[in-house]
Structures are given as structure tokens and as C-alpha cells.
Symmetry: C2
Subunit: 497 residues, 2 copies
């Protein structure tokens, strides 16, 4: 059995239960797991590690591609298995542990984790846990719905545990393009010059002797939890489309635009949906994750091709995608996140980067991660990789949260993930502020009048007026700069009544 999934016969005796594989772990180890935005994560080992931790202390440093599905992050965190976590997460239970300081979370640019492992800046991975469609005749690993950091984990780990997921169709073979940069100082240019180009192998090559265990699973990825578009996200999408139409009209890009990136989540997904009402054709994506919107744009022909590191879909879209894999085979490629997000490629291709802000300030600094400046939401993810290096860096947000109690436009971002140097365009449901070529003093009125909720505009205007009296390139009243956040905490609203 499994001959089509384990094609190197000598590996057959490595098949074992997840519980037996879990015995390979010991306290203090560094573990690299597959999984990126709920796609392609290991399904069995996380639960087996939770069990294993009941028998003896097991505190691990856990690296992944990005967030895991199946509540694995939360279950492992609650069991005390996760002592240290990087580079991204999106789980409510793990988030609580991070914010109480029980889990040390290192929030990283998604392109950089593999680089830091390679250079030795991070401790080496002891065990890699990788979900696969199959293992080839030479022992190479064919990933499932994401690549993430899997290739780098597999290269570095002393032991590799493979979860063969029977629910992942064999036809996924061929969708992946595995290219891993050489260690410095012997590094060549990455030869990729267009989104669909293949520059590597279809599977992850490793020495089969390091495959320590093979576990068989049979369950689907967790479905996407992105919410459907709503009135505000529709308005944001219309502003973005109108802006891009202006870029084409001005001759700054052709009608197929430049390759698109869109961050994970509801708003970016909704903006992409909005492109289906546009006149753009033959667009391309060079992104980190493909959501329902990307599949819809591929189906409608708006999108010609798409490159990413993972595919994260709703249950219905997933079913349709899997049933029609062949029609996507020549139009989608899945890459390591180091390549999907690589500054070299993002800069070369001139990506249009669409990412979500938690809040931004009147001068264009963006907070993507910290609620109230202190509490981690999910992490910066790939937003910095794309926003810094792309041709256009667009951040979108609804203008208010919590029924208007929180303004997304504030005097001073309570945590800065993207500086004023890296933000070109800000968008809310109210409008769009094009900051290119503007000094901070010019940005403030534009952001306030275009993007802030009308209820908050008088407060913002008053702040600017007071700040201007003190002068400076970026005028502020430091005593008041973070007062809005403090007011929300104290009074339950940022609004001055």
C-alpha cells in the first residue's frame, strides 16, 4: 500500500503512528513545521506532541511557514509545547499566550526566516515535520497546498518526519517550484524574471537517510476564515480600482498592470474580488497566498497566472479547485516563501503590494500588528517584504473599528511596522490618499480628508493645528500623540465627546 505515495521502497519501514514519531522529540528542540496560512500544515504530529507533553516536559521552539490550521497552534500552546514561536501566527489561544508573555513570539518578515536559519542567526532546526503528497523514487518530498519554509527546514533538519496526506490529490505534483538560494558568500542572482517562470525542481530533494518517520493522514486543510466582502470593503475596492485605472491612464503601467500581491485576510481578499469588476485583463499575481478571490479572477480570465507560497480557500472553492486541478496546472506555481517574498524579485518585478493596516497615522506610518500598540494580533507576515520593495505600496483599512470607538487613522501609530518611507497609498472606505512625492506636512491633510472617518476629522485637524505650532518636518504634540489610544483604554472610545 501507498506505493504511489512512497515511491522509494526502502522508506516503507519508516511508516509509523504519529505517537511513535512524537517520541523522537525532546525538550528544548527546535522544530520546523510545514504550513502557511492554514495550508499544507502537518495534521497528526501537532496532536501527538500535545499528547507527548502530558508524559514529560516538552518545550519547543516552533518555526513554520506562517499560520497553522486545525487549531494546532492553539492546542500546542495550551499544552505548553510552544515555548518560542516564529515567524507568524493567527490563532486566538496562541495569541493569548503570546500577550501574557508565556510564549516568546518573534515577529519576522516572511522572506527572512530561511535566510536567518541558513546564516546561523537562528538556532538550527532539529526536526522538520512536513506534509507531503508523496515521496519520490529518490526520496524527494512533494509538498501539498503550501511550500512555506519547508524546503529550508528539510535541508537543515537532522531528522525529517513526513506526513503523507491521502486527502491531498497526487495531481498536486508539478505545481511546486523549489529553488533555495545558496549560502553566502557564494550566491548567484535568482534567475526569476516573470511570475510563472520555473527556476527549480518540482520536489524538495533531501538525503532519504534523514527521513526518520512517515505518518499517514487523511484530512483536508482548515478552510479559509476570510469574511465575505461588505459595503466598506466594496468601497475600498472601488477606490483601489479607480486609482489603478489612473496609473494606466498616466502611462505608469500597462492595462495588465504589474504583478499583484495581496495580503491574507478579509479586506485584501475583498479588494481582489473588486478587480473582477474592472477592465483589467491578463493580470498576473506574484503573492504569498492565493485566496478565493485569486481563483475567481483566474476563472474569469482577469488573471492570467499566479505565483504564491500557499493556496488557502473556503471549503466550497477548495472543492472546486481540487476537482479541476488540471485547468490550473499551467497557470499557478507554488514557491518557497523566501522566493515568493524575496526583495530581489519583488523589486525586479515591481509588485503592486496590497496589504491591510490595523491603523495608520496622519504622516503615513502603518501599524500592522499591535492592537493598542502593545498586544500582538497576528504578525507582520510578508507585508514588509512587499511594501518596501514593490513599485506601489498600498495599505487598506476600514476607517473605524468597534462600531466607531476606534479610529484607524490616528495622530501617531502606537506601533510602527511600515515607516513613512515605505507607504505610497492609503485607502479606507472614504477615499484614497496618494502620498507619493509628498512631505509629511502635505500628507497629513490628505490622509485626514480622504481616509479618516468624518466623525474623527475635527479631532485630527485640531491635532495637526496644535502640532504645527511646534514646527518640524513631522509636527507632533508628544504629550498628546498617543492620547487617543489611552482614551480608548480609559473611556472605551477614541472619540472626544
Amino acid at each position: 500500500m501507498y506505493e504511489d505515495r512512497i515511491r522509494l521502497a526502502t522508506l516503507m519501514d519508516k511508516v509509523m503512528t504519529a505517537d511513535r514519531a512524537a517520541a523522537l522529540f525532546s525538550d528544548g528542540m527546535t522544530v520546523g513545521m510545514s504550513g502557511f496560512t492554514r495550508a499544507g500544515d502537518a495534521k497528526a504530529l501537532p496532536l501527538a506532541l500535545v499528547e507527548r507533553a502530558r508524559q514529560a516536559p516538552l518545550h519547543l521552539t516552533l518555526l513554520t511557514g506562517a499560520s497553522l490550521g486545525n487549531d494546532s497552534d492553539g492546542l500546542m500552546a495550551n499544552a505548553g509545547v510552544v515555548a518560542r514561536r516564529m515567524p507568524f501566527q493567527a490563532d486566538a489561544a496562541l495569541r493569548r499566550k503570546i500577550n501574557t508573555g508565556e510564549v516568546m513570539f518573534i515577529d519576522q518578515h516572511l522572506s527572512e526566516t530561511a535566510e536567518q536559519l541558513r546564516s546561523g542567526d537562528l538556532k538550527a532546526v532539529d526536526i522538520a515535520v512536513i506534509e507531503a503528497v508523496a515521496i519520490t523514487e529518490d526520496g524527494s518530498i512533494i509538498p501539498t497546498m503550501s511550500v512555506g519554509n519547508t524546503a529550508s527546514f528539510a535541508q537543515q533538519a537532522a531528522q525529517v518526519i513526513i506526513e503523507i496526506n491521502l486527502a491531498a490529490p497526487l495531481a498536486l505534483e508539478g505545481f511546486h517550484d523549489i529553488y533555495v538560494p545558496h549560502a553566502r558568500p557564494e550566491r548567484e542572482p535568482i534567475p526569476l524574471t516573470s511570475p510563472l517562470q520555473r527556476i527549480g525542481a518540482t520536489a524538495i530533494a533531501i538525503d532519504p537517510a534523514r527521513i526518520a518517520a512517515i505518518v499517514i493522514t487523511d484530512s483536508a486543510d482548515s478552510p479559509s476564515n476570510a469574511l465575505p466582502p461588505d459595503t466598506e470593503t466594496d468601497a475600498i475596492a472601488r477606490h483601489v480600482v479607480a486609482f489603478l485605472e489612473g496609473e494606466v491612464a498616466a502611462g505608469r503601467m500597462g492595462p495588465q498592470l504589474l504583478p499583484l500581491q495581496a495580503g491574507i485576510g478579509t479586506i485584501a481578499n475583498a479588494v481582489l474580488h473588486g478587480l473582477s469588476a474592472s477592465s483589467f485583463r491578463d493580470m498576473t499575481m506574484y503573492s504569498e497566498v492565493l485566496q478565493d478571490s485569486a481563483i475567481a479572477l483566474l476563472d474569469s480570465g482577469h488573471l492570467a497566472v499566479a505565483s504564491a507560497s500557499s493556496i488557502t480557500l473556503s471549503a466550497a472553492t477548495h472543492e472546486r479547485f481540487i476537482a479541476n486541478l488540471e485547468q490550473y496546472r499551467d497557470r499557478i506555481v507554488l514557491r518557497p516563501q523566501e522566493i515568493s517574498n524575496h526583495p530581489e524579485i519583488v523589486r525586479r518585478l515591481g509588485i503592486i503590494a496590497l496589504n491591510t493596516a490595523l491603523e495608520f497615522d496622519i504622516y503615513g506610518n502603518v501599524n500592522s500588528t499591535h492592537v493598542g500598540g502593545t498586544h500582538m494580533m497576528n504578525g507582520i507576515g510578508g507585508s514588509g517584504d512587499f511594501a518596501r520593495n514593490g513599485q506601489l505600496s498600498i495599505f487598506v483599512s476600514k476607517s473605524v473599528a468597534k462600531d466607531g470607538a476606534i479610529s484607524s487613522v490616528v495622530p501617531f501609530a502606537a506601533h510602527v511596522d511600515h515607516t513613512e518611507h515605505d507607504v505610497d497609498v492609503l485607502v479606507t472606505e472614504w477615499g484614497l490618499a496618494d502620498l507619493r512625492g509628498l512631505a509629511p506636512r502635505e500628507r497629513a491633510p490628505l490622509i485626514i480628508e480622504q481616509c479618516a472617518h468624518p466623525d474623527y476629522r475635527p479631532q485630527l485637524r485640531a491635532y495637526v493645528e496644535q502640532a504645527l505650532a511646534g514646527g518640524g518636518q513631522t509636527p507632533h504634540v508628544l504629550e498628546q500623540a498617543l492620547a487617543w489610544h489611552a482614551r480608548y483604554k480609559r473611556e472605551g472610545t477614541m472619540l472626544v465627546k
Copy 2:
């Protein structure tokens, strides 16, 4: 006359006075001038434009490589010639105009200005003013002591004014390597894989028909204004050297290290000087500017080769350098700043980036630009290009300024230029904090105990203790976060007495 300097005879009739060339300018134009950290700037046209502005209104958008010498930035600002300025400056008079809001200053990553011009994100350059050693037989321009954005300005400008500087030796021909990336979407990998590699031409090719004027000058660049090393900068240098020795001992790099970058100014220059007391040999530099320290390290053999966009020296070192140009010809290359600072190359080579912080906070966010969070000092320059993309991002600062009244280590950076995601190592004269792989809660005690001035440590510890009570990934007391800056403004010191 000038036959060795103007080798295309048909251009001889373009020779004119600076005043006559200044008549080519009109109000509202965008002008690109050569010049990078006081090196290779136009000497005559800035003064001629000041004169010209006395006759009729002349408000220009002025782009350069980086800062100009000869007080040109200040003279032009005071004459009202500079309405809008990018991407960097370091002039006291211009700084005043920026901070009063009379000049709009757009503070940019130095690698990005040329890219934004090419993509049309910035208004096109009308006139380029370029200092040159000579014009070749085919009309190509040989730059002087810097390349900066000159090649991009020359490519784009409708009219080009060339200042032939007779004080710049003809032997500078051959030091430059001019490579300009193609416009997107047709962009190839930049083929550079080692610091000294030549990938372009020795001169800037343009259509000679666009050369509108040639002005003859004969004066040297302004000398560097970096201060000599002192007790604190010596201590900072020792910490950096010890840290790099540790990296070599740990096998993370060889004894020749990885290519070094060092920001402009006193502290970075002093740290490089400190490397002359190290055991490292055959090091390389891939930086934006070479200061006295780089020449000294080349002379002593610690440094094998150096790549940069400009050479900015003290008067004495400049004289020695010019007198011995031949011994540097095969060891130094000068590139466009887009290439010297390019994310693609910085990431590929794995640069060790050494830059100066104005202040940093207990979680590793760095302010490079804004005094008191509001007033522009010089600009971010290339620090972001290198800090984001290099293998090691080191920021150095003295622990206090103004005789101890200002702590460089604060609870919350009053302006963020480099986020916690992009900072690996912080250094003051007291010690070094290695932040790699650490969560914010782990960074704070390390930064306080290693880097803060002992007088400020109790205050910082008290802040952290209070902040921890509120929880979070990055604990803060938002009401107090910027109180240190407010206290300095109010009481003349950040110290609680």
C-alpha cells in the same frame, strides 16, 4: 583648450558661464544635481541659481544623490530656490527651512529615488546638472568623486548641464561602473555577485544633443566634516570588533567577514577605524560612501577592495588619495547609488550594515532622522536599504547626548525609521545587545543593561516593570511612552531628578 576634457569637438560651442547656463531654468522645474555626501557636487550652478533667483522667482524641486557640499544646499534654500528637496540633505540652513515648513523635504531610501523617477512616481527631471571629469568622444559623461543618481538624471532630463571640474584629475576615469536597471516589466537580474565586479560602463552614455551647456570650474569638494574618534567611539568600535570576532569564531562568517557597509558620519567612521586594530584581513566593503577610515583600511591591507557611490574625505586624506590614485584603481569602484544600495545586491552579498541611530527604544526600534520626534536632522539615507536587506543590521549610538540630558535609549522611539523587524544588534559605549532570535520582552532588559547609560537604567527598568503589568507582546504604558521627550522639552533633561 579643454580638448582632453571635452573630447567631442561639436560640444565646444556649448561652453558658457554658469550665469548663462542658469538662464535655462524656469520657475517650477524639477532639477537633478550630482553630489553625494559632499562629493562630486556641481560647484558653479548652485551659486548661479541663487543669483538668478534675485531677478525673477525661481522655485525648484531639487533632487540629488545625497547631501551637497560648499554650503550649496543652504545658499539655495536661503535664496528661496529650493521649494522641494529629496532624497537627503545635511545642511544647517536647509534643515531650518525644512523644519519651519518652508521647504518640503521628502526623506527617501537612497536606492529608491532613481526607481521612482523611472516608474513615473515622481515628476520627471527637467534639467540635470552634473559635475564631470570629462566628456568622451561619443558625448558620454565621466563623473568625479561620486556617481549618486547622476546616471538616472542624465538619462531622463530634457537638458543636461555639465560642469567640467579641472580640479578633478583625469585619472579618475575608469573608477566608475555605470549600470542602470531597465524599466519594468522588462528587468533582468543585476549580474553583480562580488563587491569589485564591474557590470557596466566607465561613463554615463547620453545623446550629446541633450547637452545644453558646459561650464568650466576648478575647485575641490568640501572636505568631510566627520569628527575624529573619541573615548566613546573607541569603546563602540571595540564592542563591534569583539562581536564580529565572535561571529567568526561561531563559524557564521569567515575571517574576511562579509562585505561591510558603514553610514556617513563620525561614529560609523570611527567604528571602521577600530577595525584597523582587529585581526581581520582581506575584508571587503560594499557601501554607499568611503570615508577616511576606508582609505586607511585599504592602505593597511585590512581592506582588500571597496565599492561605493562616493568618496568623501578630509582635506589631508583627499590630497593623499588624489596623489596616489593609481594604487587604488584596481581596488575601488564607484557605482550609481541605486546599485550600491540595491536590496537585490545587499541581500545577495549579505552585507554587515553599520549605521548610526539618533535614538533607539527598549524593544529595538530605531530613530535615525527626527530630533525629538519632530525635527529633521539629515534623513534616513541608505541606512534602511542596508539594515533591511543585509545579513547583520548593527546600529551604533553614544548612550547620551547633550551632556547626559538626552538618553539615546528611550521607552518608545519618537520616530521610527527602522522597525524592530530590521534591527539585529545595538551598540553604545557601554556595551552591545544582540537581539537576534529574541522576542520584545527579552530584548528590553538586554538593551537596558547593555546599552543604556547607567544614570538612565533605573528609569528604564521602572518603565518596563510598569509596562509589564499591562501585558502584551510589546508592553507599554502609552501615557508615559513619550514622556521622556516631553520632559526634555519642558525641563531640559530626560532624567527624573
